[in-house]
Symmetry: C2
């Protein structure tokens, strides 16, 4: 149960992802991973801060990892692009 609790941050409003995290913790998860790529990285940090500070003060940031993913070149282009990633693991 612990490994698959991840919330992938996209372009929806921040509160959608906050609610997803809270729902996972309320359904018994001990660990939730918040993942994002590219510009969504700042939104991932917002989500984590709102979850911890406003809703679930007993949730701690267990670890933060950053990395790079290579994206396949778009059609008609030859160059693969790199995109930064973040994974923030929360525990309760």
């Amino acid at each position: 149960m612990s490994e698959n609790n991840s919330v992938l941050i996209g372009r929806k409003p921040v509160m959608n992802y906050v609610l997803a995290c809270i729902t996972l913790f309320h359904s018994g998860a001990k660990e939730v991973s918040v993942k994002a790529r590219g510009r969504a990285i700042s939104r991932a940090v917002d989500v984590v801060e709102i979850v911890r500070r406003r809703f679930l003060p007993d949730v701690k940031v267990e670890s933060i990892d950053i990395g790079t993913e290579q994206l396949q070149p778009a059609e008609g282009s030859n160059t693969a692009t790199n995109v930064s990633t973040i994974e923030i693991t929360l525990t309760r």
Copy 2:
């Protein structure tokens, strides 16, 4: 010397900040902090990834901290806004 080596990420092109980090390490710094707020957070991760992967492979991510800062209300407004922050400490 170690504490004051910080690079604050703003709205300039990513490579400006990459160069600032490299210059600090080349001038003998053992530790460099990359700091950002709000939407610049994703750019901070980009800067760190480019420094490590393309230019200085011996640089390691020592720690990553996230937090929240309260901004003073703008003139004519009463509500202070919160902004997320990140500080990524690199060591060589």
